[in-house]
């Protein structure tokens, strides 16, 4: 080591990562890519196939007319109650589909619930407002609400101002929505979708107006805020099950059943892992799971 000049060593150390990067890029260029499986993702592919297989099997069972039970979800049962309360008070219903893009599954799930809510609002003639932050979500939400009013046989009640686009900025959006909540005092607020730092601001503003609030998100960090400030909260998977639960469609319920079976398998895996670790000190179950997830 002492024979190498210090300045040269530091140059080599600085250049090493770039050299490694360049050599791996060259190696990739030389590699002839054909049809095949990405070797790092083989275990994930097996898990994906298992999951899809179980879900598709349950869909098949449901199509054959097998009775499926789905537990009661209080937050979804309260949807009609909230809309009914707004109708009685003659005040509007506000539905915020989160601030996520339409490419997020959470947002798509929120749009499914939105359609259900909009249909009930149309049937009861209750005013509805759906403020949006993401432009793509805005376009999808407008279509969903429009179709819901058509289905309810009340296209005359729909106008495009019911689904306004506010702004692309997170806190400017929050300021506008909380302002609307305080000024216009909707009787029911639905905060369903992908939420981040604005979750508590929106939910607290709604809570201060005395509105009945139903929230739902899969963002774990935001759930405590919603649980604290809202009357009902759809926690994680309940949000994704919402459309199946509300539609009572047996095929969709089959999907939920399949998902529950896979969850039971995961739970069993964890329990066996704990037992094996406690009894033998081996982390084989954990290692298998880590490698299957590509860690």
């Amino acid at each position: 080591m002492s024979f190498i000049p210090r300045s040269a060593l530091s140059k080599v150390l600085v250049a090493a990562p770039f050299l490694l990067q360049a050599s791996s890029a060259l190696a990739q260029e030389e590699e002839v890519i054909g049809w095949g499986i990405v070797s790092d993702n083989v275990a994930a592919l097996i898990l994906f196939t298992l999951f899809s297989g179980v879900v598709l099997y349950q869909i098949g069972q449901a199509r054959r007319g097998k009775e499926l039970f789905i537990r009661r979800i209080a937050g979804l049962n309260a949807v009609e109650e909230a809309i009914g309360r707004s109708t009685e008070l003659g005040r509007k219903v506000m539905f915020v589909p989160g601030i996520g893009t339409v490419g997020e599954v959470e947002t798509l799930s929120a749009l499914s619930v939105l359609k259900h809510v909009a249909k009930h609002c149309a049937e009861y003639g209750t005013p509805l407002e759906v403020p949006n932050k993401d432009p793509l979500t805005y376009a999808a939400a407008r279509e969903a609400v429009k179709e819901a009013y058509l289905e309810a046989g009340r296209p005359d009640l729909f106008n495009e101002e019911m689904v306004p686009y506010l702004t692309y900025d997170q806190f400017a959006f929050t300021a506008q929505v909380t302002g609307k909540m305080v000024r216009e005092k909707p009787a029911a607020n639905f905060l369903i979708g992908s939420f981040f730092a604005e979750s508590l601001l929106l939910a607290e503003a709604g809570q201060s107006t005395g509105a009945i609030q139903i929230a739902g998100t899969a963002q774990v960090a935001q759930l405590p805020f919603f649980v604290t400030t809202c009357d009902y909260t759809l926690i994680g998977e309940e949000l994704y099950a919402a459309s199946a639960y509300l539609s009572k469609d047996p095929v969709m319920l089959g999907c939920i059943k399949g998902q529950d079976i896979v969850k039971a398998i995961v739970l069993l895996w964890i329990v066996i892992g704990i037992l094996v670790l406690s009894a033998t000190g081996s982390t084989i179950m954990q290692d298998l799971l880590n490698s299957s997830l590509g860690n």
Binding site: S112, K115, L136, A139, A144, A197, L200, T228, T229, E238
Partner: protein, 223 residues
């Protein structure tokens, strides 16, 4: 019929491509390139959707002004801000193009000034409101009305006091208790929610890809 089937088919194809490119390789890495192109398309579509959004903002607020609805003056401020900020943004964009430029604008001064001096402080103000809202939400959540709420209060007290350096000097065992609560019961509950949500998201994705779940498209289940 086609109006209903084509969006579902497009959704299936657009959803299938990222899955296939994640698991499989193809000659010339075509799958990954196609996936990258699809992501670029999404950006372009978002741009057009944003234009729709701006039109909506104008429509709603111009109607509010013309009808002299409640708060119509605020609508004027909003539209003025939108036009001014948009104009400065466009001026800056054009000034960066070779051969284009505006007299009196060098660099991004106008846009940046509005952003730094007005927009940023307003954003910070909104964000700082969280501190007060957290306090009021905590006050409601930590009322010991029953056994569960009492347990929640006790856990919260331990965690909050366990990270307070002054309290830790008097009660040195508290950080250990805090760590146990955060890494034990708290982490277990969070992971339970995350596992459930991940499986729920995967199931929902499958329903969307197979066209079973269509309500987000505005279609009925039977359509």
């Amino acid at each position: 019929m086609l109006k209903k089937k084509i969006p579902v088919l497009l959704c299936f194809l657009a959803g299938l491509l990222p899955i296939i490119s994640f698991f499989f390789t193809s000659p010339g890495d075509g799958l990954r390139e196609a996936n990258d192109t699809l992501e670029q398309w999404l950006v372009v579509v978002s741009g057009f959707a944003l234009l729709l959004g701006v039109i909506s903002v104008f429509q709603v607020n111009l109607r509010k002004i013309s009808n002299r609805s409640k708060g119509w003056v605020n609508a004027i401020y909003l539209l003025a801000s939108l036009v001014i900020m948009g104009a400065f943004g466009l001026m800056d964009a054009f000034s960066e193009m070779p051969g284009w430029g505006w007299v009196g604008t060098s660099g991004n001064t106008g846009f940046n000034w509005i952003f730094d001096a007005i927009f940023q402080p307003l954003q910070s103000t909104m964000f700082s409101l969280l501190a007060f809202y957290v306090a009021s939400a905590a006050f409601r959540a930590f009322r010991a009305r029953n056994l569960e709420a009492g347990l929640l209060l006790a856990a919260a007290m331990v965690v909050m006091l366990g990270i307070n350096p002054y309290v830790v000097k008097v009660l040195p065992f508290l950080p250990e208790w805090t760590r146990w609560i955060m890494n034990g019961p708290n982490a277990a509950a969070q992971r339970g929610i995350i596992i459930g949500a991940a499986l729920g998201a995967a199931s929902m994705t499958l329903r969307i890809l197979l066209g079973i779940e269509r309500s987000w498209l505005g279609l009925q289940e039977g359509e």
